[in-house]
Symmetry: C2
């Protein structure tokens, strides 16, 4: 029987890799944070309240999983961090916009985000709607800029993949299915599908973005897409497990919301142990995807374990 709160160390990577990952994530979270800070206008560069809300929603914390994936996968191909950090900042801005809108009263009605008041609670609803809108625009604007990559074709490829991952047939489509499914029991297939869209697409894009920036061959690009798909799915299952087992203090947001709102979760469908086993299965697939990269991908392998072991 597995430990009820964590996967036992024997099932995971050597702890040396975990330490390596921890340092690396923290360093790259700082890199992405600095890029966001530099890329958003200063509050004197436009409407101060709007810019403040955009900065509030994006700066000051979070794991930066998507930004990390963008920078780390790009590093496999020797892409300069000055470029990949822009892609990482862009995807973090898009992620932040989705959280700002998701937290709105008409949506999930969440007062807390990362242990702080959500953007509409800190400012107001209208400001939160507009800050989210402007963050989405900014994310595309950053990718279009020549500083992101010298080749317009590479920038276009990033923009096309980014839009496909985040629009009606990606993240936003998943949010809609999630909302419509509230209060009804969804079968496992539909739960998988909605999460593949809602959180999976953007995580997959983040992993893929490094291969696009690095102009990787089709096989390596496909492998990073698959890695992203697998850790994205594992991430969501781990999220459901966390919601069911962690405290609000650990999460920095309201805990136990899924059960209270009657959401169809992996935990509800598979049980806590079943959900954990499914997350591990996906993690192993993700690690197999990385085989051709050898030791260069050790941190990405460690990350695949991290997403199912994290406590927040």
């Amino acid at each position: 029987m597995t430990d009820p709160t964590t996967i036992s160390p024997s099932q995971t990577q050597p702890s040396a890799n975990a330490d390596l990952l921890r340092k690396d994530m923290s360093a790259r979270a700082k890199l992405v944070e600095s890029a966001i800070d530099a890329l958003l206008p200063p509050t004197t560069g436009g409407d101060a309240r709007l810019i403040e809300a955009m900065r509030y929603a994006t700066l000051g914390g979070g794991k930066r999983l998507r930004g990390y994936l963008a920078v780390e996968t790009a590093s496999l191909f020797g892409v300069p961090e000055a470029q990949s950090a822009r892609v990482g900042a862009s995807v973090e801005m898009l992620h932040a916009y989705s959280l700002v809108h998701d937290d709105l009263p008409a949506m999930d009605d969440d007062d807390l985000r990362r242990g702080q008041p959500s953007t509409h609670r800190k400012f107001d609803e209208a400001t939160a709607i507009l800050a989210g809108d402007a963050l989405q625009t900014k994310a595309f604007e950053i990718l279009a800029d020549a500083q992101t990559h010298e080749s317009a074709n590479v920038r276009i490829a990033l923009i096309a993949a980014f839009a496909a991952a985040s629009g009606a047939s990606g993240m936003v489509g998943g949010q809609m299915i999630d909302m419509e499914g509230e209060g009804r029991a969804l079968p496992l297939d539909e739960v998988r599908h909605l999460h593949a869209l809602k959180t999976g697409c953007l995580i997959r894009y983040s992993a893929e973005s490094g291969a696009i920036l690095g102009q990787a061959d089709a096989d390596l690009q496909r492998r990073l897409r698959s890695y992203g798909t697998n850790i994205g799915a594992a991430f969501q299952i781990a999220d459901d497990v966390l919601d069911a087992t962690a405290t609000a203090e650990e999460l920095g947001k309201t805990a136990g919301k899924d059960e209270a709102s009657g959401k169809s979760t992996f935990v509800a469908l598979l049980g806590i142990d079943g959900a954990r086993a499914e997350a591990e299965r996906l993690t192993k697939l993700a690690i197999e995807d990385l085989a051709p990269f050898g030791a260069k991908a050790d941190r990405l392998k460690a990350l695949a374990y991290y997403v199912i072991e994290r406590r927040n």
Copy 2:
């Protein structure tokens, strides 16, 4: 003294041009409408309710001023309509998203749009927020596609100009300033500035987009930008005049809202006659911008009058 409800015919273009424009606008509105229809997924191609809301918000009417500008300015350079209609559809989707979010209860709280229930009234608030979000994404996705132009550099130039026009330092920034200014008397300069952002930037981009698609030289591109800036400003002044003088039936939306909400309008600051004179001044500047194009630009010249003479 001018007629209180319209500018007298002697001040406008020959009626032959007006007829030409009317036919042309109607034909191109259909072209842009078809492009939007073809570019949005069918309701079987994703979450049906989300796609329905996206279609509801964008299809079935409106003047398509922005789409018309994109197609008409592109035609000055011989750009195929198959390309310019995509740019027109993209800017109309972005415009539609801004209206959907603007109409939300937390923003302008408008129940009517083009004589029909606004999107959140027809569907619900959450669906309207997500449909607006997905329309913005789709607008960028369309521009990134190779069908929009064979050159990735041209597509990147469109995306960069589009993002700059619609984000925090463009349309969304203007919406924010507009909201913050409600109930306070703003000086004329600030009213000009807010409208230059809120509606002006996207109209300017629409006029400029044809020059980008057509790879026009810097002077012609600058002239179309200036034309767009001038008619954009004239358009907003005419909007204020309409709000003060037209009926809800003519407008297809609530009339007299500006005065009721204490908004600082050009009419409040300049009076109806003063506002009309200002709109005419801008129209004449717009027509001067078109000088190098000669008779090829007759319809764009007629359009400059149209924006200040329309009744809805």
